[in-house]
């Protein structure tokens, strides 16, 4: 199946959810059902189908399927968490639109169109950045967000357009490619809020609802970054241009973000700020993937992107669950939290393992691979240590968690499951067998109705427990993914070569000749499409310029 059903479900349900926002329950129900439908539709995406539409193509790939399936699943769990924590009523609709736009961007092999989709998806986040009722701080943050999106979008559009055409008569070739590459890389850094472009992103953590942070700061920018990776891999890397200065600048942004993001996360007292800065720190590693310009970086970069956004989503969910359980996000008020909420403690352990991994796990290999490809000597050591910096954050949380419970933690409700109210007893008082039988049947029906009426109250009193279970589910997904589950490394490393059949042009089953394009070093073509599937090679014309040999 093509991605079309997924897009129809996500965009349709997002529109319906946002349009019915005056009826909060209806809007939330539509949003949740839409996200559940998106999970199903995403799983049904075929990795080798292409849909020709309007002079362009929508191309499926294993990476696209994994990205949108995980994105939909994570968004569904976050939306449920948002319902428990009383989040912004636009959240389900925004999550749907965000993951739909990300899927669309990844399905478009033409980077020039994919950028438009990724930028439009980012704009939806503004709806949740401004709280209801509006606050001045939220408006300021939303204005900064709009500015960042516009600047990043314009830079990327120009970069992709500049070298996305026949360039046989191009003057000043290295400079043009270098500027275009730098422009796109800066656009990615702005979208991620990487240091030094982090001012808007840092404030975003203050204004946006907690459950939407992963979509605004990680999933949306991640789709943009994957588009950039594919574009750089196809348009810039094969030329083997020196681009030393440009690459150094991109490496600097990535390395500084990885190191200083971790430091900033460590010194924060607010859990949501910690989440925001750890996202920025991890985004730094993703930016290093853009700096590599090497086919060897293709698989680790795309693996890292998807693993880190899922892990950070789990961490954001953990922060929401902590606030829900203890009524505070301030770390210094959470002394003893781990003793009081063992499920959350277990969830944090799983998130830590998923975020860092151990040698041999996909997440570890991806991180070290990207650092090794872009940095040498002491710089590599510093950035490697910096990338492990968030461990200090987790250690701090753990140390506080096992301390003597603070007043805030001590008065928190227990996480043990409780029932909202005792069910009334219904003795059978009939005098005859038949009468008692009828009465028992009526009592059974009445008891069932009593039970159903009590469910909402039971959900209410067990909110903290349910939130913890949702966190565990997210942490489990994250852990499995970081260990290489869900076929993430295979999907991320898929080398183009299998040419999908355009639905409009050829009947299914007919075989096509794989493209014989190779990169200048003789290796298989690294990428053609943002989705990482090969179709782009078959659908986009080869650049007409001659490759410049490396000096």
């Amino acid at each position: 199946m093509t991605i079309l059903p997924f897009l129809a479900v996500t965009f349709g349900a997002a529109a319906a959810s946002l349009l019915t926002r005056r009826s909060e329950r209806l809007s939330a129900t539509i949003g949740i059902l839409g996200l559940a439908g998106a999970v199903v539709a995403a799983a049904a995406i075929s990795a080798d189908e292409m849909l020709a539409i309007g002079g362009g193509e929508l191309v499926g790939s294993a990476y696209l399927r994994l990205f949108v399936w995980l994105g939909s699943l994570v968004a569904l769990l976050l939306a449920l968490l948002g319902l428990l924590s009383g989040s912004h009523r636009h959240v389900p609709g925004v999550l749907l639109a965000g993951i739909g736009a990300a899927g669309l961007a990844l399905a478009l092999p033409d980077a020039r169109i994919a950028i438009l989709a990724a930028t439009a998806g980012g704009l939806v986040g503004i709806l949740v950045t401004i709280p209801l009722p509006a606050l001045a701080s939220g408006v300021v943050v939303a204005a900064r967000e709009l500015r960042a999106l516009a600047v990043a979008g314009a830079l990327a559009i120009l970069a992709a357009a500049w070298i996305g055409r026949p360039l046989a008569e191009l003057a000043g070739e290295p400079a043009v490619f270098g500027l275009a590459y730098l422009g796109f890389a800066v656009a990615v850094a702005i979208r991620f809020g990487a240091i030094p472009f982090h001012f808007w992103a840092a404030r975003l953590a203050d204004a946006a609802p907690e459950v939407s942070l992963p979509m605004l700061m990680a999933w949306g920018p991640a789709a943009f970054a994957v588009v950039a990776l594919a574009w750089a891999d196809q348009s810039v890397a094969p030329l083997l241009l020196p681009l030393t200065v440009e690459r150094s600048l991109v490496v600097a942004v990535g390395a500084v973000s990885a190191v200083l993001g971790a430091v900033a996360a460590w010194i924060q007292d607010d859990l949501e700020h910690v989440v925001g800065y750890t996202i920025i720190a991890d985004a730094g590693i993703a930016i290093l993937g853009l700096a590599a310009l090497d086919p060897a970086a293709w698989e680790p970069a795309r693996t890292w992107v998807i693993v880190f956004v899922v892990a950070r989503s789990a961490f954001a969910a953990w922060a929401v669950a902590v606030r829900l359980a203890f009524g505070s996000r301030r770390i210094d008020e959470l002394r003893g939290w781990a003793l009081r909420a063992p499920l959350l403690a277990l969830g944090l352990v799983m998130i830590v393992v998923a975020s860092f991994g151990v040698p041999g796990l996909a997440v570890w290999e991806a991180r070290t691979g990207l650092i090794d490809l872009t940095l040498d000597g002491p710089f590599a050591i510093v950035v490697t240590l910096g990338a492990l910096g968030p461990l200090a954050v987790y250690a701090r949380l753990a140390a506080i968690g096992v301390g003597r419970p603070s007043e805030t933690v001590a008065r928190a409700a227990s996480q043990r499951p409780t029932w909202a109210a005792p069910l009334p007893s219904r003795p059978a008082l009939g005098r005859t067998i038949a009468g008692r039988g009828v009465e028992r049947a009526a009592n059974a029906v009445g008891g069932g109705l009593d039970l159903l009426r009590t469910v909402p109250a039971a959900l209410g009193v067990n909110r903290a427990l349910i939130a913890s279970l949702l966190v565990l589910a997210l942490a489990g997904i994250s852990l499995a993914l970081s260990a290489g589950g869900f076929g993430v490394t295979a999907a991320a490393g898929a080398v183009p070569g299998q040419v999908p059949t355009p639905i409009e042009s050829e009947p299914p089953g007919s075989e096509s000749e794989p493209p014989a394009t190779t990169t200048p070093d003789g290796s298989a073509p690294a990428s053609g499409s943002p989705a990482g599937s090969g179709p782009a090679e078959s659908t986009r014309p080869e650049p007409s310029f001659q490759s410049v040999p490396s000096p």
């Binding site: 912004h88 509006a134 701080s137 314009a154 357009a161």
Partner: protein, 239 residues
């Protein structure tokens, strides 16, 4: 030079100058609409009717969304401090540069007029983007900046495909919606069209007008958080 495209370029640039210079929000919005509509046609060959229709509808819808956000209020935008003649001259200079550098190093597949218009409105968008505390001006600047990028893309890459035109239409509508949401928010907190807590503090805390109901303000951060009155407090959904 194609006279029709040159005339269209002048219309687009004039609209953009009005959009960034006018103090009256409706005039600025009209200028933006003219620029967006004109930009849809700045291609050679022209797109097929369907994509053009999509672009036109998107431009009108975006402008309509912003119009909803600014209606009923007497606020003025901060306008251009330099004045429209200076803005127009800067845009003209940028247009000349854009026209002369058509293709940016290689032959462009689209019309040079589109690049001229792109450069001109890119320059016009810079000031609101960089200095804009006025959310309407910032929003207009953002839309113009992206339109500038798209125009330059049309100039060097040729007429976009139907799918790209559709994506562009979606982006324009999204931008209009985002600007409308921010403008409504700024007006609701009592800061007029200026984003900022200090600006809001100077204004009455309630505004009454069509489209914007009486809205209480607060300056506490953590806007979306339920009151931290205690553990597992009752959900407080922001309505």
């Amino acid at each position: 030079m194609n006279p029709a495209l040159a005339g269209l370029t002048c219309v687009v640039v004039a609209g953009a100058v009005t959009a960034v210079s006018a103090r009256e929000p409706r005039a600025a919005l009209l200028g933006l609409l003219v620029a967006l509509l004109g930009a849809s046609f700045l291609a050679d060959p022209l797109p097929t009717p369907l994509p053009i229709a999509a672009r036109i509808v998107a431009a009108i819808l975006a402008a309509r969304l912003v119009a909803i956000a600014i209606r009923g209020g007497g606020e003025q935008t901060s306008g251009s401090r330099l004045g429209w003649p200076v803005e127009a001259l800067a845009a003209a200079a940028a247009a000349v540069i854009g026209y002369a550098t058509h293709g940016l190093g290689a032959p462009g597949a689209g019309p040079p007029e589109a690049q001229a218009a792109g450069f001109a409105i890119g320059v016009l968008a810079a000031t609101p983007i960089v200095t804009g505390r006025d959310v309407l001006r910032l929003g207009i600047g953002s839309i113009l900046l992206l339109s500038a990028g798209l125009l330059v893309r049309q100039a060097i890459g040729g007429t976009p495909s139907d799918l790209e035109q559709l994506a562009t239409s979606g982006l324009v509508v999204g931008l209009g919606g985002a600007v409308a949401a921010i403008t409504l928010g700024a007006r609701a907190v009592g800061g007029g069209l200026v984003a900022g807590e200090e600006a809001a503090a100077r204004r009455p805390t309630r505004v009454h007008g069509r489209g914007v109901g009486p809205i209480q303000t607060s300056h506490r951060s953590g806007a979306h958080r339920p009151p931290e009155s205690g553990p597992a407090a009752e959900p407080t959904t922001h309505r």
